[in-house]
Subunit: 369 residues, 2 copies
């Protein structure tokens, strides 16, 4: 496997040195920052997430802040959700689309106050999009990146660790709800969220100089539950059918083909970007659909490094974006974006992977609940 060269064009998160100390072995790059992707023991990291508690540096999950008198107007125009129902302290998953309904990012929108919102973004420069819209509409709102770097605590014991740090009140927090707080003077936003289906919290560190301090405090609080270092986990997210923007999607993806229809509120009063185009897609039905694949292979297969074509009767019908061996299913599984007609039939397909063609059964997402 190739090595990663490091320079100042790609930033380090405030928790970077802690991940190095804990033996990080692999990185990728996400939002122009390093993201730890492995600590060298994939099986233990997976088990810890499924059965215990895992600590992830997700500082690369950057925030785009909208602040000013027109912040809510801008947030509403960007997001296909009814923000009239969104309270301060609440987050919403929002597939942000362009005027033609193409997905540009799938952030969590956080309402910090009436005139202050964050978009907690996936891997694309949504700041440029939001800033262009705001400026061209001459709305009175600043669009910038605040000093806010999430640290995720994920897994069934995450709630115990976070309760040990902050008190039992955290157990009553609703999903995607958040609250400003602090830990021994370290300013934080504590949210019940995270990119897994195993439950957990994200601590948005609000002072980038205090990342190592925060990491250590969480680590010590987590020791009774054998907390360990981990990363956003490809195997768990595939099993759980969580979308990975940029991995599962391409430049022409829309929310409907990605199974995100319930996050596109076409019947709300306020206008939002892409509303008309999305209505048309909803009416005619998307041309493609995301589907699970069960690969016909008798042992754990290597993970593909790039999208691979999928065929039905020698016809190219789409791509498989990821595969993994699922410990919970005991099978090789993957996620593919295929012609909807083929997904509707649930007929078997052929995935053309680097080491050969594999017959695949289709399977509804998610694989595991």
């Amino acid at each position: 496997m190739p090595q990663l060269s490091m320079n100042a064009r790609v930033r380090k998160s405030p928790f970077f040195d802690a991940t190095v100390r804990h033996g990080v072995t692999h990185f990728s790059v996400y939002n122009h920052m390093y993201i730890a992707t492995s600590f060298g023991d994939p099986e233990a990291e997976y088990r810890r997430l499924i059965e215990g508690v895992s600590l992830w540096d997700v500082g690369c999950e950057r925030q785009v802040e909208l602040r000013g008198p027109d912040a809510e107007k801008l947030a509403q125009y960007l997001c296909p959700r009814d923000l009239g129902r969104c309270q301060v302290g609440q987050g919403l998953y929002a597939p942000v689309c362009d005027h033609q309904g193409r997905l540009l990012n799938d952030p969590i929108l956080l309402k910090l106050s009436a005139d202050r919102f964050w978009l907690s973004i996936a891997d694309s420069d949504l700041l440029l999009w939001a800033r262009a819209i705001a400026a061209e509409r001459r709305w009175d709102v600043e669009v910038f990146e605040p000093d806010a770097s999430p640290l995720a605590i994920q897994g069934p014991h995450a709630v115990s660790v976070v309760a040990a740090l902050f008190g039992d009140w955290v157990k009553r927090m609703g999903y995607f709800h958040f609250q400003a707080t602090e830990l021994d003077g370290i300013p934080l936003l504590l949210a019940r969220s995270g990119w897994s289906k195993q439950g957990g919290f994200e601590l948005y560190l609000l002072d980038e100089t205090r990342g190592l301090e925060l990491w250590e405090k969480v680590w010590r609080a987590g020791e009774p539950w054998n907390i360990g270092a981990g990363t956003p986990n490809a195997t768990e997210r595939i099993e759980s059918g969580l979308l990975s923007y940029g991995t599962d999607t391409d430049m022409n993806s829309n929310p409907f083909e990605l199974g995100l229809a319930r996050f596109v509120e076409l019947d709300i009063e306020p206008d939002f970007i892409g509303k008309q185009a999305l209505k048309e897609i909803a009416l005619s039905g998307p041309q493609r659909a995301l589907t699970g694949l069960l690969l016909d292979a008798d042992k754990p297969m290597p993970c593909i490094e790039h999208k691979c074509r999928v065929y039905s009767d020698d016809r190219d019908i789409g791509y498989i974006a990821v595969n993994t061996y699922s410990p919970r299913l005991g099978k090789n599984i993957g996620i593919a974006l295929l012609q909807r007609a083929l997904v509707d039939t649930q007929a078997p397909v052929i995935a053309a992977l680097p080491d050969g063609n594999y017959r695949c059964e289709q399977c509804a997402l998610p694989f595991c609940r």
Copy 2:
């Protein structure tokens, strides 16, 4: 050094497999694609660029195409250059700014026809910016990424290699001029350009399925000049004072502090984004300035991995973004963005690097011509 994990979120260029075959050892990520950064012999790669000819996979230098009746209007509104003087077949370096004059990217603008332009971009999603502007203005122009992947041939012998491939007419091409052509049926755009000051060409491959074929043809044509695999070269670019967007810059950089004043044409008739804000910065003078530093160290120093603070009399006056040992100068050099008042005095400063504080003399950029 950590390893790079690979998955479908980050794309491979059409030349990727060729770089692997030639022994690439390091990558970074640029525009959501892998970029080769070393073939394991930095000294040979540097010498080859300075004295010979080097072949670089720069497929990650993506294009943002503007196409349609309003393409020129959009290009002009995005770029602070007089496009009225830009002919078909000509490129222009264009520091693209937001409405407040902050640099968002520094692409080469290529005029392919009256209604078709490319922005050949540095590492930020300028597509989102351009698409938002076009849509909000309701201009009749499509904004998308075309199938176009540059392969760079750089160094003093590049012109001989390219002449051997295409004919002697290429020797008369002006800098930043380009022409559609082909090589044994492989569709290309041939441009006299590249991210070095050693001269060279970029072949924009227009069919992503034919990258390995193109690489091999260039390789064979270059053998008489001992062509070798290389990458955009940090040492040469620092010596030459070429800007690296995202490395040398931060989120609030403007073209004036970066020494790009000659690429911002404030007195032209057409309006462009940021014109008023840039006029104000030009009038008051920028608060910071890019400067060269000569580090007081008696042997080649390791390269820093992130921006480091720079001090004068214990006052924080900015950052150093990169350093390198310059073979041509026999010195450790770097590029810093500092308070302009300090740069004006050319007083020595202190760079706080990971292994200690270094006294630095200032030095006008570029270090080498």
